[in-house]
Symmetry: C2
Subunit: 190 residues, 2 copies
């Protein structure tokens, strides 16, 4: 059983003008990323927002798919959404994992930018293989704030495709990163 957790951060993140803002949770981020999480054995998918009305919105969607009619209509969707935990902050997500694993997780941030001292997918794979509790953080909007990076244990290098274009959606980035880590460990890809 892996101890891999992911978190989608809606605050604190940057806007286009490099200001710290809170973004809205989107329906598709809930569904797409939950389905990816279920595929790759993620233990919990944290949707991180301090906004109570946003938390309620997510609860309602999850509730719809967890009740009897939702389960009957699409049991697979229901299973994926059961991985979601709503938290008010990154710290509170870390605390929940610490309680569950009886150990603080290693926090790895992701970014589409080049920064100093970034780790590669190989290092992340090593941590995953060693069965360390891991929390992978993904930003919405124009990315996580500097503060989040400086408080994390590691920053993962951006995903490089083959063209130099590096503006993947967060939904695609989550899928690719989870596929790369688990493929390396379970299928001997590198």
């Amino acid at each position: 059983m892996s101890r891999l957790y992911i978190g989608l951060v809606h605050y604190p993140v940057l806007n286009k003008h490099n200001e710290t803002v809170q973004t809205s949770v989107t329906n598709l981020d809930i569904h797409d990323i939950a389905r990816t999480a279920a595929t790759y054995g993620v233990k919990n998918y944290f949707i991180i927002t301090p906004d109570e009305s946003q938390q309620e919105y997510v609860s309602k969607i999850i509730g719809f798919w967890q009740n009897e009619s939702g389960k009957l209509y699409n049991p697979d969707r229901s299973a994926a959404l059961s991985l979601i935990t709503i938290t008010e902050s990154i710290t509170s997500s870390i605390n929940k994992i610490t309680m569950q694993e009886e150990m603080r997780p290693i926090v790895i941030t992701t970014t589409a930018r080049h920064k100093l001292d970034q780790i590669g997918i190989d290092k992340l794979t090593d941590l995953y293989r060693a069965n360390q509790p891991l929390l992978l953080l993904f930003g919405t909007g124009h990315g996580l704030t500097e503060n989040v990076y400086s408080e994390a244990d590691y920053i993962l290098k951006p995903i490089s495709g083959i063209t130099g274009y590096n503006h993947l959606s967060v939904r695609s980035a989550v899928a690719i990163i989870l596929d790369r880590i688990t493929s390396a460990v379970y299928k001997g890809r590198n």
Copy 2:
């Protein structure tokens, strides 16, 4: 320069009751998949629908991002959407590629299901490495119809994660498949 094309099929696809239907184009399928296509050097991303009002809808969105204000607001988005070609059918997509490449593409369908005689990612990677013109088809709704599979050259095996859960969104599936093919060729992953 790769000769890799992808197509997102809105007709003919199946609904929940295994009936052949036409689905609506969604805004996020346009954007997310175009951004993934730009990242992985896809030559054209075909949005396939016979419905003229849907074709107009897609044209309008592309137009918005191609005009001066869209380009200024987000040049990267504009670049990604420039890869989109709207076509009325799979056949018309194949014809366009045949004109452009002076050679019929090899058509590879994708599915979340297990079927007879499916090829693995290694075979697909070989075709890509050999610089064959390739058209990878992805279904919306509950997947492509049997007819589409029987007319294609190959059917790709479903993406297996590590849990047996295989209900990824089409957006995530496109990202993972393109990452796997190009990683194998450009980075020696297998």
